[in-house]
Every structure is written in structure tokens, then in C-alpha cells.
Amino acid sequence: MIYAVFAPILFAIVIPFLSRMKHKIHTGWLILPVPLLVFIYFVSFVGSGFESQVSNYSWIPSLDISLSFHLDGLSLLFALLISGIGSLVVLYSIYYLDREERLGHFYTYLYIFMTAMLGVVLSDNVFALYAFWEFTSLSSFLLIGYWHFKERSRYGAIKSLLITVSGGFSLLAGLISLTIVTGTTSIREMVGQPDVILESSFFPLILIFLLLGAFTKSAQFPFHIWLPDAMEAPTPVSAYLHSATMVKAGIYLMARFSAIFGGEPSFFMLLSLFGIITLVCGSYMAVRQTDLKAILAYSTISQLGMIMAMLGFGTDIAIFAAVFHILNHATFKGSLFMIAGIVDHETGTRDIRKLGGLMTFMPMSATLALFGTFSMAGVPLPFLNGFYSKEMFFDASLQLSGYAGTFVEIVAIVLPYLAVIGSIFTFVYSMYLFFGTFRGKYKEEQLPVKPHEAPFMMLLSPIILVSGVIIIGLFPNLFNNGLLTHAADAVFGDEVTKEISFWHGFIPPLYMSLTVVILGAILVLTKTKWERVYNILPGNFSFNRIYDWGVNQLEASSNRITFTYMNGSLRLYMVLLLASVTAITGTALFISDGINFEVSDVAPVTVHEVLIAIVMALAAIATIFVTNRLAAILVVGVVGYGLAILFVLYSAPDLALTQLIVETVTVALFLLCFYHLPNLTKRTESIAHRGVNIIISIGFGALMLVMSISAYNSQFFDTISDYFTENSYKLGGGDNIVNVILVDFRGLDTLFEVSVLFGAGLAIYTLIRFRKNKGAK
């Protein structure tokens, strides 16, 4: 199973090389077999005899993090969607994306996503799941920003990343709390002990954290604002990530954990309420849109809300309907996105106000769109799968009993009405989408390109998806035993048996469906009268404004904070650095009782050494006050030569020699440069600056004093110097131990030292050599 999950990302490594040949053969053809093989692999599991599979791969055993994959009914359904629609999207993109585009980038991102998404739905380990989860966010970010030269793309990409990744952090917090409460990182073991989780005092926190993660990812109200902006991505991406798979990750998460939370009133309340609000808002907002993809985006939001609400209901029929609708939504919405892409591709616009009457030019696309939109609207026809799941949704919304508490009861009563209202708007925008694009008056003068039918191969993917719509519609029980019941079982935690049938008799769900169709049709036919209302009621924009305001404020204030210390003044940087070093080291020394002034075992003091030390100290202090260039060289030289004498006294002849040579050369260099540089000026800093400077220098000096004396008195380890003394001749073959250390024991250090010197020399040469070309750097 691990190969199936990682096949796309491993294959992504060679995509950049394959894309070099894109002028001979479109990269898409070369990589199409990968998702197809993965799809076939997962199809082989489908069947009524399916049993869940587990395979374990160790990753970070010390943290109990493993790549353990668990394939049950729910995972299987998602894995089939990911690989199946993935294959169709790759096929579609071959005709959608021109060869001049950066195909290598596109397919690499897409395949990274494929692995990440498969990982999300198959991981049994919560931390592996989280890692894959964030990878889906990242690849979505890259794909939305694929046309990065467009400002809207960048905006959409950043928005989706900010919202989904902050939700991801919340998810991580929830998963960590779950791990702490249950003592395991495996989802299967967590599901096995729901009582422990429900009775823990962390339960409200866990629930809220997980819900935030799921709501941001699945674009639930009020986090739905990122999805419409994500439509800036190329259409194959919108069809794949932002309708069929990635946005369902939140649904998957809720479905996965509903075996634990199912039946909890708070879980029911939050999920159903937010789901239904999302359904109503999303479908209402979709009616107002004029961009084909924006309509589909809001439609996706509302459908996701519907699935989320059904998971919240938690009854067996609701869960079965949710699972069924996940499959149905992927088929009709995927095909509609592809049709929208085709319309955009062939006419040059996605603005529904400019489109119309395309049926005569694009009969195939129009037929496909007809099935897609009518299925989405839930029109009661026996060959449209959307109707079945929608009617089950109504049915489920009516069967919400058994929850105690006044508020919960009120919600249970209101839910069916909200469901109908949401569905009416769904009907309206579905009709609007189809009739607005393919029927009505043909507006030739408004179209940038003369429309014509797309090539057959481009239509192939939507044709396959629409065939799915019809096949599921005609033979709904075909997928029932092999796939859907297994998925529903996995969510519900118990056996779910459900016969899907078209005709139930004259029962409330049918009346609800008919109400939707009749009221919806009235609204569509009298659309011109309602348009004003749609424009008056703002809904969504306030949330967008809050987001924009938040992001702008964040940027502005971080800018302000950064510029208070990153103001380009070298002195300020030094002050901050040294003050922090002094404060932190000093505090650490103090807290850990590292200060130790009890000195023993010191060398005797002699007069000439004291004299040298005094002279050096005076010379060092003099560097501060001297204003004459020559005097400055002299006092710095005094310190250097004094140090050389100290080296002689302290048995370090090599150091003394080197120091003397270096000091001489340095003084010569100083002289050379001083000739070109202005004289030292009097220090002109303000008194406050001078005060700070004095405090910091003295503080740092004092710290070094305390540190050196304390360090002198403590020895925690045996010295390694004896090793060098003993082995200098034996191993290094030299009498001069220091030299042997430098060129033999620590030879590589010296090599790097030489390269530093070489680099400095090169830089100096460059700086001097090019002095004539002023400003031409």
C-alpha cells in the first residue's frame, strides 16, 4: 500500500526531466499511467467481501509516529476518488494546458498533492495524517498560485494557505490532546475507546480544535471565503482539489472521528448548524455570482455544508446519504468544472452575462452540462444520482429525534426548513448555470473568440464523469454493497444497510423535493424581479473584509515592529546583540551558580609582566580618546606588540612569531589606508548614546572577567591536550606540537583557514582592481 501512496510523489521526481520533451509529447501523456495504476490497484479491493487492510511502516518509533496505512470502506471511497478523478484531471489537463505553460511545475505540484491526499485518507497514525494534511495545503497553495504573474492568483494562494494552515495548527493541537487523553497515536485505537475521550475534561477543547481544522479545510462558514478566491487556479486544479478531493479532507476527518463523537449533542449541534448555515449561505451566494467558476465554487461550499450537516445528524441514514453524496458530488461537480473550463477555453470568457446560446455551437458540452446541473439541482429523474442523495438528505433531516434539551429540539425542527431553503437556491443557480450559458440569446459581439466544440479527447473526462452520474442514477445499488455500505459502516461504527430506490411512495421527502422544484422554478422564471434583492443582501463580503483588514493590519504592524530594530544602524544592531549576550549569559551564570571566584593554582606575579599589562591596558583605553591617525596606529600597535611579548613570556614562541609578523603587516596596511581615509574625528555621539555605549562595553568586559575567572576554576572534563603531547611525534612525526596539531591532527581546520584567507584576498583584490568603474558594479 505504501507504494500506491508514494507512487505519485516518487514519480514527481522525474517529471521535470520529462517536461523537457514537452514539445515532442505533452508531459501529461507520459505521467497519466501513474494515477491510473493506483486507481486500478484500489479498484481491486472493491467488492462485497471487502475487509479492511492494515500495513505498517516504522517512521519515528521513539515518538510513536509510524506510517501505518489503514484501508477501510471510507478510505477506499476517498482513495478511489483521488486516483480516479486524478487520472481524469490529468487527461483533461493535457488539452487544457498549453505546451508553452510550465508543465513540469504543474504536474509536480499535482502529484505531490496526490500522494499527500492519499496519505491523509489512509493514515492511521494521527501525526502522519497531520503531515500529509499540511502537504495538501502546501500543494494547493502552489497550484492556486500557478499563474503567479496574476495578482489575483497570488492573493488567492496566500488566502487559502493562511486559512487552511491556521486550521491545520488547530487540528494539530486537537490531535495532540487526543493522543494525550488516549495514550495512543493510532486512530483505530482511539475509536476503540470513545468513553475515555468523551469523559475527559479535554473533550470540549478537542472537539473545537478538530472542528476548526475540518471547517477551514472544507470551507465551512465562516471560513469559506478562501474557496472562491482559489478559483484562480487552472480549471483542472479547481475540479480536482477544490471540489472533488482536498476540500473533502475536512469531511473525511469528521467522518473518521464521528465514530467517537457521534451521538454527542454538542457534536450534533455544531456540525449540523454550521453545515446547514454553510449550505444556505453558499447556495444563496452562488445565485449572485456571474463568473461560471465562482458559481461552482459557492455551489461546492454549499454542498460541502450539506455533507457536513449530514455527518452531524449522525443517524445511519444520514451517514449513508453523506457517503453517497461524497461520491455523487465528485461526479457531477467534477464534470461541471471541466465543462466550465471548456467554455472558458473555447469562448475566452467565463462571465455568464456575456455567455448564452452556446448550445448550437457546443452541443456535446451542453448535453453534459445538462446532466450535471440537473443532477446537482436534485431534479427527480431516475437517471440522475444527485436526486437520490438529496432525497436521503431530506429524509435524514426529518428523522432527528432522540436528542434531549430545548435548544437542540428547536434546531432539530428548524433543520428541515433550512435544508429546503438551501436546496431551492441550489436549484436556482443550477438552472441559471445551464440556461445562462447554453440557452438564451447568443451574444456574439461580447465573446473574445468565436465558440466551437472542444476536441473529443478534452470532452472525454467529463463524459466519463457524467456517465458515472447516469450509471449511479440508473443502478444505484450497483455501488451499494461493494463500496458505499463499507464506507458507511466505517463511519457509523456499526452495520448500515440501505437499499437505494427511486420511488418511496408519497412521503414527506418527496413533498420536499417537489417544493424545491416548484419554488425553484418560480424563482428562476421570475429571476429579473429578484436580481435586485440578490444584490442588496450582502452576505459574504463582510467576512472577506474582516480577513483583508486582519491581514493588512498584521502586515503593517509587523512591519512597524521590525523597523523599530532593523533600522539600518550598525550601532543599534551591535547594542542589541551585545546587550542580549551579556544579559542572557550573565543571568545563566548567576542562576546556575556558575560564578566562582575562589582561585587556587595560579602562576606567580612578576614585575615586568605587570608593567606590560599596564602599558597594554593604557594603550587600549587610549584608542578611544585618540584623534590623530598616527597616534591611533601607534596605540593599536602597542597592544599588538605587547601581546607578542606576553606570548614569548608564556612559552608560546610560534604565536609570538606569527603575532609579530601579522602586527607589522597590519600596521603597514593601516598606514596605507590611513593615507586615503579622513582623519579620525572627535566622537560626536549624544550623551544618551555614550551612556549606553559605556554601560554595554563595561558590562561585556565585566561578564568576560567573571566568565574567565569562573571558567578557570572549573574543570568538568579531562583535557585532551595530553593526547597531542604524547602522540605528536608518534603519529605526526613532528617535534613542534602546535605545528603538528595545525597541519596534522586538525589539518582540515587549517585548510579552511587558508580558504578564508584566500577568500579575503580575492575580495580585497576585487575591491581594489575595480575601483575605476565607479557606479558600474
Partner: protein
């Protein structure tokens, strides 16, 4: 004697830092030179002073000064020489281009 050297090193550190905090490029260079002197003295003192013969093997002598700090310092002297000369040339270049050796007038470009 080690205490005296520790005090000397910390005086060197303090003056080095004070020079580093100045605006004039040359004073900053002087600061770095003093800083490396201070660090060398610090290292040498940590290895204990006057504890034996120079670390050059001689027949019959077993008592040598700790060679390790010396090896470190030797590396450091050479590196700081490289840094000092680079800084000097940089100062020279900066002055010829910008006609200023005041760090406050040489702040980064405005588009950052």
C-alpha cells in the same frame, strides 16, 4: 598572574566593544583588532600560564605548556588578520565611493 591577565583581557574586551559602537569606520576596525587580541589573551589564559616548557619536544623534558590553546590562537590570528585587511580595504572602497566614513550615513538602501 592568570587573574591579572583575565583583567587585562576584559579591559581589552571593553575598549574593543566601545570602539565597535562608534560611527566612524576606522574606529570599528580598531575595535575588531582589539577584540581579537582580547580573545587570544583570553584563550591563552584559560590554558594556564607558565606551566612548563614551550610545546616543542626536547629529549628528556616531559613538562610542556598546553599546546591546544596555542593551536587555536594561531589559527585565529591568521583569520583575524584576513578580516582586518578586508575591512580596511572595504573602508577605503566605501570612502572613495561614498565620500563618507560615517556608518550612520551609510545605512542600507531605501527599498528594503
Amino acid at each position: 598572574m592568570e587573574i591579572l591577565m583575565a583583567i587585562l583581557a576584559s579591559i581589552l574586551f571593553a575598549t574593543a566593544i566601545y570602539n565597535l559602537l562608534q560611527k566612524q569606520f576606522l574606529r570599528i576596525i580598531i575595535g575588531t583588532v582589539l577584540l581579537s587580541h582580547a580573545a587570544h589573551l583570553f584563550l591563552l589564559t584559560m590554558g594556564k600560564l607558565k606551566r612548563g616548557n614551550p610545546p616543542v619536544l626536547v629529549e628528556g623534558v616531559t613538562n610542556y605548556t598546553d599546546p591546544l590553546p596555542q593551536a587555536l590562537i594561531l589559527t585565529s590570528i591568521v583569520i583575524s588578520f584576513g578580516v582586518t585587511s578586508f575591512l580596511l580595504v572595504l573602508a577605503y572602497r566605501t570612502f572613495t565611493l561614498n565620500k563618507s566614513d560615517n556608518m550612520d550615513e551609510l545605512r542600507g538602501s531605501s527599498d528594503e
